[in-house]
Amino acid sequence: MADIRIEGLHRRFGAVEAVDDVSLHIRHGELFTLLGPSGCGKTTLLRMVAGFTDPDQGSIHVGDRRIDRLPPHRRDTGMVFQNYAIFPNLTVAGNVAYGLKARRVPPPEIARRVAAALGLVVLDDHGERWPHQLSGGQLQRVALARALVIEPEVLLLDEPLSNLDARLRVEMRGEIRRLQQSLGITAIYVTHDQEEALAISDRVAVMRAGRLEQVGTPTEIYHRPATPFAAQFVGTVNLLQGTVVAREGARVRLRIEDQLLLVPAMVAPGSGLSIALRPENLRLLTPDAPCPEGWGSLSARIERVEFLGPLTRLEIAAGRLTLHVATTETVDMVRQGDAVTLAYDPARITVFAPP
């Protein structure tokens, strides 16, 4: 069982706490993503698992084996690097065979396993090619084959798709996910692209300034962000702050700018609250349509319309409050400057504990 247990991991670079007391349990066969902006410590954390950065404190176990004291070449992790790191002096097959030779696998078996690995990444007849003859996407596949062929306990991917163009990125992430699932390998995936993280992960850890902000499945992270940072980093969100003016059962009326919103919270009037509301949870009401039972509504005016194909993004002003709205409905009728009614389901509002 190749689950990964990280306990109390610290790493400091000069005055910067790059990784600050991180503990994680990554389950066997899981694709676990470290997501965060640059400098949040996600790559440092990955490199500590690989052994290229030494932790100051803490431990890393793979299964029952403690690996944080092992030199990197004995950790049995397969790593895919951001710039692929394909050896330019070896052919594609030579690159893939590299780790097998280091493990003194007999030549006939090397040949068999290299062919199988190249088949896995759909590069069957490319073994004799040189790296400079390959495209970026093909190099990426070679890097993947090279990491997988040694049948590592853990697959580490360090922003593997950031050097590819957008279309290829979408294609390759699907392929990485397919391979990871079919091989049942435990994988840690580092990225700053939230869409990528949501698309392929079993679970995601959002990192900020060396700390874990939230760990959860993509849907948990998206729909129930634990902190304003997590809400803002994943997807688009209306992040608002206001003061409670009245309590109504399990709800409060929250004053934000010059508007009042219904929010599911039980705090005394006068307290401050932060809330997050996804754009798709705000609905435009046609003039004659009634407001659904239990929903709140605001009178507003359309400031900007952005048609994106499958959905339309709107910027809508309710008094001094500006809100982002996303809708999949056809909004041919609405124009900039139109007066509209905005409705929202208070149950969809995320309320953050006061800091």
Binding site: A50, G51, F52, D54, D56, P71, P72, H73, R74, R75, D76, T77, G78, M79, F81, Q82, N83, A85, F87, P88, N89, Y98, G99, A102, R103, R146, A147, I150
Partner: protein, 551 residues
């Protein structure tokens, strides 16, 4: 605190060894020169009186001023010649540009005093051009004195400005000039206000190199300065002592020389190094459209300058196959000059080849690990190591030679009189180049390649042997050839340090010039040119591939 692990033991060890070697073979000899400059005539007390005394003599004051004037003049001319040429080569449709770029660096590698000697053959008192001009009754141009010296230095070293400036112009993204033009500036205003300022750090860095190389040079002023004092020459003359050696005064002149070069290099490091504009051009900016006249003009100008710098060497080669009677050249073809040379100088030729090989090996063995540490282990320690390994750049060959004599002539470590002292001095002088070459090569090898290898199960030591080394080897060989070639034409430290059986080819040529045997001198010059050019031609492709430059 982490314990000193294996990973920090390697850089620490390299730094320690480098420090010991440089302390012994650079700092200690230099300290001896400093002490010599400070000792009073009784040799017991340290005093600044020597500086006052030497600088009180108008002749030596003139030496200091002449050296600085020469350096500044050569640098200024190099900029005036090199910058327009660089712009032409970077942006205009020059005929045969790739060939031109390939040979533009040659003046830097060909021995400068051979070039100076060639100018004497052409424009000296009994030079070919001088006599031709005299025969038709025209006044001759003098190659002697300050203007001639400045020109010879500028022609020898303008590629120091040219090459980095070409690269700088090429690295400016096209959008910069498009933005400028779009905002209403003319092409000429764009050059002055956008392109030149962006390239300026590279230009000035090159100009400083010209300055340093010029004031350190020994052979050229020895041939062309006549009775005008030049620091590097006077330090040597005072030290060797035609009328009795004077180490105190020689020490003072040496230290003045060191101060000048150190000041120039500190400006380079502290000021210029930080002013590199990052101009990541996505692609090379396109050629500008000019008419036929512009194209021809630019081509003639660029080829003209490079050929003007190289023609003297061709002339020397031709002359070496012509008969001399006494000092006078006669038309005809002969190989007598070479027969005399081989008779007199087969041992020095072997000395040159052997010493250059030994010193190259030493400089590589020390420089390569230092370069590796500098690139792969960034730390405060690496910063110290970087400064330390660049120090030899600031020390003129003459000064280092004097230091070696003072330090290793007697006492606990005697080196003078043998071959080892020459090999060591060469290795020390070429260490900065080797370190930078190794760094340049390593910068082209992504660290993630090594990490990928380690991650796949190959230990760091074996990764270095089976992955890093093969990737580096071409560049290392190229760097070794460049080092070897530079050592072959070393004169300034050799002249102070050589002894009887260990004379080199440069010494043979030097003595032939002093002794009035122009035939032998030209043959020796031809041999030096051949020994320099042939290895370069052999590894030319290697140098291009690894982007190793002679600067």
């Amino acid at each position: 605190m982490r314990a000193l692990g294996v990973r920090s033991a390697f850089p620490f060890g390299v730094t320690l060894i480098a420090f010991i070697l440089l302390a012994l073979f650079l700092i200690y000899p230099l300290a001896q020169v400093l002490v010599a400059s400070l000792l009073d005539p009784t040799g017991t007390t340290l005093t600044f009186a020597n500086y006052g005394r030497v600088l009180g003599i108008a002749f030596y004051r003139a030496g200091l001023i002449n050296s600085l004037t020469l350096g500044a003049g050569a640098a200024a001319i190099s900029v005036v010649v090199g910058v327009p040429m660089a712009f032409c080569l970077a942006r205009l449709p020059i005929v045969g540009r790739n060939w031109l770029l390939a040979i533009a660096a040659l003046p830097l590698v060909l021995p400068s005093f051979v070039g100076a000697y060639a100018w004497v053959m052409l424009l000296g008192r009994s030079g070919i051009v001088t006599q031709a001009l005299a025969s038709v009754g025209l006044p001759s141009l003098s190659i002697y004195g300050m203007p001639g010296l400045t020109l010879v230095f500028a022609l020898h070293s303008f590629p120091y400005v040219l090459l980095p400036t070409v690269a700088a112009f090429k690295a400016i993204d096209q959008s910069m000039e498009e933005a400028s033009l779009n905002l209403g500036a003319t092409r000429i205003a764009t050059f002055w206000r956008v392109q030149l300022p962006i390239a300026l750090p590279a230009v000035l860095a090159g100009a400083l190199l010209v300055f340093v190389e010029t004031i350190e040079n020994f052979g050229v002023p020895f041939l062309l300065a006549e009775d005008r004092p030049i620091l590097a020459v006077q330090a040597y003359k005072l030290f060797v002592g035609e009328v009795g050696a004077n180490p105190a005064s020689a020490g003072v002149l040496s230290m003045l020389l060191v101060f000048c070069t150190v000041a120039a290099l500190l400006v380079q490091r502290r000021y210029l190094a930080r002013r590199r504009f990052s101009t990541a051009a996505r692609s090379q900016p396109p050629e500008l459209v000019v008419g036929a006249a512009g194209r021809i003009g630019a081509t003639v100008y660029c080829w003209g300058m490079v050929l003007l710098a190289l023609v003297p060497f061709a002339v020397v080669v031709v002359i070496s196959f012509m008969p001399f009677r006494g000092p006078v050249l006669h038309p005809g073809f002969t190989i007598d000059n070479f027969i005399v040379l081989i008779d007199r100088a087969s041992r020095p030729l072997l000395n040159t080849l052997g010493l250059a090989s030994a010193a190259t090996l030493a400089a590589t063995l020390v420089g390569l690990p230092i370069g590796y540490v500098l690139v792969r282990y960034r730390s405060a320690l690496a910063g110290i190591l970087d400064s330390l390994s660049m120090t030899p750049l600031a020390v003129a060959g003459t000064v280092l030679g004097i230091g070696f004599v003072l330090a290793f002539n007697a006492g606990w470590l005697v080196l003078t009189g043998g071959w080892l002292v020459l090999a060591i001095v060469y290795a020390v002088r070429k260490l900065p180049f080797n370190v930078r070459a190794a760094s340049a090569i390593l910068h082209q090898i992504e660290p993630s390649l090594e990490e990928a290898s380690i991650n796949l199960g190959v230990s760091p030591a074996r990764t270095f042997v089976q992955l890093t080394l093969p990737l580096m080897i071409g560049g290392v060989v190229g760097g070794m050839v460049l080092t070897w070639v530079a050592i072959v034409s070393e004169l300034s430290a050799t002249i102070v340090l050589y002894s009887g059986p260990w004379a080199t080819m440069t010494i043979v040529m030097f003595q032939a010039l002093e002794g009035g045997s122009p035939g032998v001198a030209s043959a020796a010059a031809t041999v030096l040119i051949a020994v320099t050019l042939v290895p370069l031609l052999l590894v030319y492709r290697l140098l291009r591939r690894h982007e190793l430059s002679l600067t």
